[in-house]
Every structure is written in C-alpha cells, then in structure tokens.
C-alpha cells in the first residue's frame, strides 16, 4: 500500500477510500483480485472530508469510493467495478453465460441499492435524529435481513465454493463487505443465512479479500 519511492509508473490508479466504507471495500477487493496496483487516498468521512471542495470535484455525490485513472474519474462502486472489468480483463468477475451474469449483477444490486444505501452514515445519522438514539441498529438489521434473505434464496441452488460457482465473481465482491460489516458492526446473526455464513468464511481465507479488509487499510485506526 506504501507509495513507491523510486520513479513511479506514470498515472497510477488512485482510489479515494475510507477504511470502514463497505462501498470502498468492494472496489479494494476488485482491484486486488485483478492484481491492479493503486494509490490509496484516504477520505475521512467522520471528519467530513467528503465535503472538501477538492473531493467534491472528484465525486459530487460526496461518497467514497471514487477512482481516478488518468483522465477518467469515476464515482460509485458499481460503475467502478464494471469499468475495472472492462479495463483489466484478468480475473474476470462476470461470467459469459447470460443467466449467471444476470444473477451476479442482481446480487451486486441487492447489496448496493437494496441494503447499503439504507444504512450508510448519512441515513443512520438521520434515523438517530428522527427516530431516536439507538434506533439505527435495529433499523440496519432490518435492511440487512431483507437483503440477506433474498440473496440467500437466490444463491441457494447455485453456490459452489463461492456465491455463484467455484470462481470468485462480482456477487462475491459485493457480498463480502456487506457480510463483513453485518458480522463485525451490526451484530447480525448469520445462522439465518447459512450459505452467506459459509461464504464469509471462504472470503476471510482469500488473500485478495484479506488485503481489502477495513482493518488493513492505511487509514484504519491502529489497534490498541
């Protein structure tokens, strides 16, 4: 993750990320799987750095992740993942078969449209404010439960070693951070989703996924 001291390759990829952001976590996994080196640029969401004018030029939605690749600037993890899939075809994340491809795209959407936006930082702050302190946890668990129940049903018949077969695919890239945050931050009981629970164990053993974990990022607070 450290910057190269000697002459760096021209225009290295830059990823704007926050250690704990599950959206950024997805892109870190994808980059690692594809063996793409990148510069890590931390954006401290708790300190409000996403509202810095410089960052807003990169992503006017004020979200991480954002990717800069030469003169291409992309916000949103789904857009970034599909860009990486085109630009760096090694370790393809989408199968050719249309049915399995659609399944992967659907699972990715369940996570990034159906679960995570309903419990990101800004929404949680709103829930705490509007509904009451301590309400954000049950709220988050509800959103996760709905999405995990659907994902579990979708992959029950076709999961292999990974979500949709024996190779890591896009569904895994999106599921892994959501399951990780469910388990480590939101006290979700994974016994209701046995396939997802098993996948979590597989992801935790995979080097590309390990290197992408929040605690391993340069801006993670050092452990006490």
């Amino acid at each position: 993750m450290a910057e190269a001291g000697a002459a760096a390759p021209a225009a290295r990829l830059r990823l704007y990320s926050y250690w704990r952001s599950s959206s950024a976590h997805r892109v870190r996994i994808a980059l690692n799987l594809k063996g793409v080196e990148y510069e890590y640029k931390a954006v401290n969401l708790l300190k409000g750095e996403q509202s810095d004018p410089e960052f807003m030029k990169v992503n006017p939605m004020k979200f991480v992740p954002a990717l800069v690749d030469g003169d291409t600037v992309i916000g949103d993890s789904y857009a970034i993942a599909l860009y990486l899939e085109d630009k760096y075809p090694e370790c393809p994340l989408l199968p050719q078969d249309l049915k399995m491809k659609a399944l992967n795209l659907q699972i990715a959407s369940i996570v990034c449209s159906g679960i995570q936006p309903l419990h990101n930082l800004t929404v949680l702050r709103f829930i705490e404010q509007k509904v009451g302190t301590g309400e954000s946890l049950p709220w988050t668990q509800q959103q996760i439960d709905r999405g995990f129940t659907a994902a579990e049903n979708l992959i029950k018949g076709c999961a292999g070693k990974y979500a949709t077969g024996d190779e890591v695919q896009l569904a895994d890239v999106f599921l892994a951070p959501q399951i990780y945050s469910a388990v480590t931050r939101f006290q979700v009981n994974m016994s209701n989703y046995p396939t997802l629970a098993r996948l979590h164990d597989e992801y935790m053993k995979h080097p590309a996924f390990q290197a992408a974990l929040p605690d391993r990022q340069p801006d993670a607070p050092s452990s006490t």
């Binding site: 939605m61 860009y83 959407s109 449209s113 159906g114 936006p117 049903n153």
Partner: protein, 212 residues
C-alpha cells in the same frame, strides 16, 4: 416456433419498472406486461425473492432488479446499444445510473412506503424524497456540466438517459421537485418527452394506470 415474448412484471407508478419499459421500447423488443402488487400477490415472491418490481422473465431466465435487467437486455438484444464502447463514457453512464438507482430511488421508496405505513407524515415523507432527489440531481447536473449533446452523454440515448428520465418525471410529477434548479436535467426532460419510446413508457400510458 417463435420463442415466447419476454414478460415484464411491474406497476404503472414504479419508476424502476418505467426504466425497463423505456429500455425494451428503445430496443424494439416486443414484450408482455403484467401488473403486480408485490405486497399482496403471494406468487410473486417465487419470481422475485426481494419482492421488488420490476422482474423480467425471458424464456427460462428470470432477472430482477432494474439495473441487472437493463444490462441483461443490453447483452441479449444488442440493437440500439445503451452503453457506449468508450470506457470513460460508459463509466459516466453507469455512474449516473447508479446515483439514480442506489442513492435516490431507494430513499424515495423508503419515504413512500413509510408514508403508506403511517410511520412518516406526508410532510416528512416529502422532505426525505426531496432531500435525496436534490442531492442526486445536483451531483448529476455537476457531472454533466458543459454537456451540449442532445442526450446526457452524447447524441444517442444511452443508459444514463434510461434511468434519468423516470426519476426526473417522478420528481416533477409526484414530489414537487423544482427542475429549473437543474437546467441540464430540465432540458433533457423536455427532450425525453418527445421520444416515442419514452412516451409509451410513461406511467400514465400503462394499462394498469388509473383512468381519470
């Protein structure tokens, strides 16, 4: 023997369904439309475990989620391609698409359902929709700064347009969004309203729309 027509499950008022009507129309795909209420139709869960609409059944393939459906259609029916080959433009389309389908519409949906279930007052519900719509529209307007092409990312209709059109339409018609704050989006809206594929996809033109 001709293969069966794809079937789109949706509802007239759903902006997610609206997107797929547009995509199917643009690609000239002849399809069957079935209106469904996921809250009350017990069989629908078998088609889409998330119980969201839309879902597309195309032969033995069942796809739900509008983005997954749109990308499936892009592969299966490559005529009138919705994604450019240029990676930068493609990424911009996908980013606009995802701002709509991850950052605006799910919060709109939460606010609308909250109102129906009595958890939010009409005013609170409207404020939530407007807050997230304005945030998303402001960002998209910024991303499209300097855009002088006919559509969002060029002179052909692309995926960004397919997802933008229903969101702008709902914003103006249901949620009192002042679209004049977003001149590029306002111009695009006027342009979309003249395209037959978009007109046919409008909520009021669906068979299950209330007549009044």
């Amino acid at each position: 023997m001709a293969s069966p027509k794809p079937v789109l499950y949706g509802a007239w008022i759903s902006s997610c369904s609206h997107r797929i009507h547009i995509a199917l129309n643009l690609k000239g795909v002849d399809y069957e439309y079935k209106s469904v209420d996921p809250r009350t139709d017990p069989d629908y869960e078998k088609i889409n475990p998330m119980k969201y609409i839309p879902a597309l059944v195309d032969g033995d393939i069942v796809v739900s989620d509008s983005l997954a459906i749109a990308l499936y259609l892009e592969d299966k029916y490559p005529q009138n391609a919705l994604l450019p080959k240029d990676l930068k433009k493609k990424a911009l389309n996908l980013q606009i698409t995802n701002i709509v389908c991850s950052s605006i519409q799910p919060l709109q949906s939460y606010a609308v359902i909250g109102l129906h279930e009595g958890k939010l007052s009409p005013n609170e519900s409207l404020q939530i929709v407007q807050r997230y719509t304005d945030k998303g529209f402001k960002a998209i307007e910024k991303l499209l700064e300097g855009c002088n092409s006919k559509y969002a990312t060029g002179d052909e209709v692309q995926l960004g347009d397919v997802f933008l059109a229903p969101q702008i339409h709902a914003g103006i018609n249901r949620f009192q969004i002042d679209i004049t704050k977003y001149p590029i989006l306002a111009r695009l809206h006027d342009t979309y309203m003249e395209i037959p594929a978009f007109q046919a996809a409008l909520p009021k033109n669906q068979p299950d729309a209330p007549s009044c």
